[in-house]
């Protein structure tokens, strides 16, 4: 018995005694961050998960990139010109750039990115804007000329900022081979780091690229750990095993108290909304406006979001260049909302609910299950709508049930859907508001699921696509935002706020709505 106890004690001692270095946090020159999903594909044109872009952003470059202020700055290109008709975009490429395997970067790579993005036999996911290109010319290794089928102003945001992939490695592969090539797990790029190790579901190691065209990275390596559980991620940060984490709101206060961590707060270009499906009463703008007045946005931001959100009034991110700063959200005013409905012909009926033409004002409110903030916001809104006489039942379901063919959007009845939309920082929103994007069923093209239709909006959206002149484009988007506010196709609730915790030994790291500082500038003391 004594021997057994001694062995047990010895094993316990071995297991529990700290080993020098193993639990002492990241080594000098190493930066550790975490993602929740295993990157499915590190080819920027084939991936489906945000976890993938969180990794390949270190390995690939685009012609231009966005800085902390949201301005376009040169990357693989050093300059560009646009023809007056907006059909010809000419880029001058940076000389001396090499892929991480040593091969030279040329205009052939830029042309190949377009060929890949439009290859219908490859499992391409992200190719918006490439379909507007008629041809790509490469008069010399450092010049690329895109010829567009029609003037298309969002070209800059959608193509100029897209990753360039190596023609010399992928150009000779058949479509099926591109779908399965090992490149998708261990890509070769021109970025400041290259993937030196990818252990599935565990971590990706990115090593500083010695042939990077820009400043040599100050870090030796970035390790991206793959840990799905958010609480575990926070524990990793608190145990000193991470340098960076986007902290969930529920644990923000706890993290803010840790002296070795600094929290950076910034606006996420994602907004929460209530989509108003216009089938019956919701076709009347007075009803939609009344519901907007009866939606307590400030209260939701304060009580549900615990202050981790900013008021939304349009789909342009408030700190971005296209936001119309003159617009203010409608104040919460249930009395005015009820009066608007009474003025619109509704009258109180059984149970205090409002009726018109013998029909009750039914606006069921749906949201996604599994996201506490959405279900809580749904209850707050429903309670308020009921208080003005709207019959509002609430339901939380899966994404597939909410947006799928059997969901509330396709039954021909009024419905309101609460969810978040990753608008991004660029103004392109034609698919949301143009009447040609009202889908006929769940699988049809278009995101105008609310069925909003306004000829002026259609005209403005078409014009915005064709207008390359920035000042004119701003004026168009200001008017678009006025219409969004006036017509209330959706109720804008709030913009999400992110809180990124960084360990105090990290230098050169910053983050805004638009981007982080370049990773080659990050360092650890």
């Amino acid at each position: 018995m004594g021997n057994r106890l001694a062995i047990l004690a010895l094993v316990s001692l071995c297991l529990l005694s700290p080993i020098q270095g193993s639990l002492a946090g990241p080594a000098p020159g190493t930066f550790v961050m975490v993602i929740g999903d295993n990157p499915d594909n590190l080819n920027p044109y084939l991936h489906s998960l945000a976890a993938s872009s969180a990794v390949y952003r270190f390995t690939f470059d685009s012609l231009y990139t966005v800085n902390l202020k949201g301005e376009w700055v040169p990357a693989l290109a050093t300059g560009y010109t646009v023809s007056p008709d907006g059909l010809r975009w000419t880029f001058t490429l940076r000389s001396g750039v090499r892929w991480s395997d040593g091969a030279p970067f040329t205009s052939a790579d830029v042309k190949f990115a377009w060929q890949l993005a439009t290859n219908r036999d490859v499992h391409i996911t992200y190719a918006t804007g490439f379909d507007k290109i008629a041809s790509v010319e490469t008069p010399d290794p450092l010049t690329v000329v895109y010829r567009l089928k029609e003037p298309y102003a969002p070209f800059r945001d959608q193509v100029m900022g897209s990753a360039i992939v190596p023609q010399h490695l992928l150009g000779s592969l058949a479509a099926d081979q591109i779908n399965r090539t090992p490149f998708n797990q261990k890509p070769v790029g021109t970025g400041p780091f290259y993937v030196s190790e990818f252990v599935t579901d565990d971590h990706v190691t990115l090593t500083a690229n010695p042939s990077y065209w820009g400043k040599r990275a100050r870090l030796q390596r970035i390790i991206v750990r793959i840990v799905p559980d958010q609480n575990t991620q926070v524990n990793l940060l608190k145990a000193g095993e991470l340098n960076l984490l986007n902290v969930p709101a529920a644990r923000l206060q706890e993290i803010a108290r840790v002296p070795t961590l600094a929290v950076k707060r910034y606006l996420d270009p994602t907004y929460a909304l209530v989509q108003l499906d216009e089938y019956e009463f919701l076709r009347e703008s007075a009803v939609r406006q009344a519901l907007d007045y009866a939606t307590p946005k400030e209260s939701i931001i304060r009580n549900v979001m615990k202050g981790q959100a900013e008021p939304a009034v349009s789909d342009m991110v408030p700190n971005g260049p296209y936001a119309d700063k003159r617009l203010r959200p409608r104040p919460y005013d249930p009395v005015r909302a009820r009066k608007m409905l009474l003025d619109d012909g509704f009258a109180p009926g059984p149970g205090g609910l409002l009726y018109k033409g013998g029909r009750r004002l039914d606006v069921p409110l749906w949201t996604l299950s599994g996201r506490a903030i959405l279900t809580q916001a749904m209850q707050v809104i429903a309670q308020s709508w009921r208080s003005i006489g709207v019959n509002t039942e609430t339901r939380a379901v899966s994404a597939a049930a909410l947006f799928g063919q059997n969901g509330p959007q396709w039954n021909g009845k009024d419905a309101a859907l609460l969810f978040t939309w990753g608008q991004g920082v660029f103004p392109e929103n034609k698919i949301n508001w143009h009447s040609s994007y009202i889908p006929k069923d769940a699988s049809a093209p278009g995101e105008n699921d609310e069925r909003y239709s306004n000829p002026e909006m259609d005209r403005l959206l078409d014009e915005a696509d064709r207008t390359v002149d920035e000042a004119k484009r701003h004026a168009i988007y200001n008017r678009i935002q006025e219409l969004e506010f006036r017509d209330v196709p959706i109720i804008f609730l709030f913009w999400l706020v992110n809180n990124t915790a960084v360990t105090s030994n990290v230098q050169g790291y910053d983050v805004t709505t638009f981007n982080t500082t370049p990773p080659e500038e990050w360092s650890t003391r």
Partner: protein
């Protein structure tokens, strides 16, 4: 015995075929689908989604897709993941060692703790120790795995810095010692439920056997207590435990889904959870079939173990 095993294997094959058909049908009838991940993604156009649907063969009726999947399975090809484009078998082989390591550790840990606890509780029934062990068993049985896992992390990793929070290895360190340190908490979380249930079953089994005449006779003959307990009581109490242990193989496998997620363990559980979330049908089917096979063959293994434990049991 040989013909019995062959018969059981054929039955298991038929059962698994039926399971695959039902699972495939339900999977396809559920709302959404593999492309639901792109729904309401501003960067992916509906035209592109349509094209992907066609490329992946998802525009064919589900039974046609099932027949193609079954043909592939018969030919040793379990299909390719919709998301990575990689062969499912290759992805499983990559993660299998991690899951086997975790399951085996949890199994061994559960056995190592459950047997002494169950025996101690039975031989000291209604004592102070028995009451404490009973309370402890019910407590850990009722404890959610994710909560227990997080408590362990906060205590041993965050507060005391004794163990790593998550993962299977420190980056660049693949020593056995490092693996053991990473295994402690996940194996404890995965195995603790089995410790509780197995010890309870063993206690009640032993209590029943302890009341049998042949045990009383053995004691009356003057045999040493330890010998009576080991040879007569424990062995005869094992049959219900063996059944539970056989069935628990699949429970451990499904439990690994949660444990692997909490501890960032790079095993099959996480792979199949991601497959479920993404509706990656080929991977999803592989996970379901492995789980079903573990249940069926765990049961068969338990039946065969009966014969080894009890000479009166014979299979014809």
């Amino acid at each position: 015995m040989g013909s019995y095993i062959a018969k059981r294997i054929i039955q298991a094959g038929a059962l698994l075929l039926l399971v695959s058909l039902v699972a495939y049908a339900i999977m396809n009838l559920a709302p959404g689908g593999p492309l639901a991940v792109y729904l309401h993604n501003p960067q992916v156009t509906p035209e592109r989604i349509d094209l992907l649907r066609h490329q992946l063969g998802l525009d064919r009726p589900w039974y046609v897709q099932y027949a193609a999947w079954l043909r592939g399975l018969a030919g040793g090809h379990w299909g390719d993941s919709y998301y990575t484009g990689r062969p499912v078998l290759e992805m499983i082989a990559e993660r299998l060692p991690a899951t086997i390591t975790l399951m085996l550790s949890a199994f061994v840990l559960a056995m190592a703790l459950a047997f002494p606890i169950g025996a101690l509780a039975a031989t000291h029934k209604y004592s102070w120790g028995d009451n404490v062990l009973s309370f402890g068993s019910f407590f850990v049985w009722a404890m959610p795995a994710f909560w227990f896992g997080l408590m362990l992390q906060m205590t041993f990793a965050v507060r005391w810095h004794l163990l790593p929070v998550a993962g299977m290895h420190e980056i660049g360190n693949t020593s056995a010692g490092d693996l053991l340190r990473h295994l402690v908490m996940p194996a404890a979380v995965l195995g603790v439920g089995s410790v509780a249930s197995w010890s309870r079953y063993l206690r009640s089994g032993m209590l029943e056997v302890l009341g049998q005449d042949y045990v009383r006779t053995a004691f009356a003959k003057g045999l040493p207590r330890r010998r009576v307990l080991n040879r007569h009581v424990l062995r005869n109490s094992l049959i219900p435990i063996v059944t539970i242990m056989g069935l628990d193989l699949s429970v451990l496998f499904s439990g690994a889904v949660i444990t692997e997620s909490i501890f960032g363990w790079p095993g099959l559980g996480r792979l199949f959870l991601a497959a479920l979330n993404n509706r990656d049908y080929p991977l999803q089917m592989a996970g379901l079939m492995i789980s079903a096979a573990l249940l069926v063959f765990g049961n068969l293994l338990a039946d065969l173990t009966y014969a080894a434990l009890d000479p009166r049991i014979r299979y014809e």
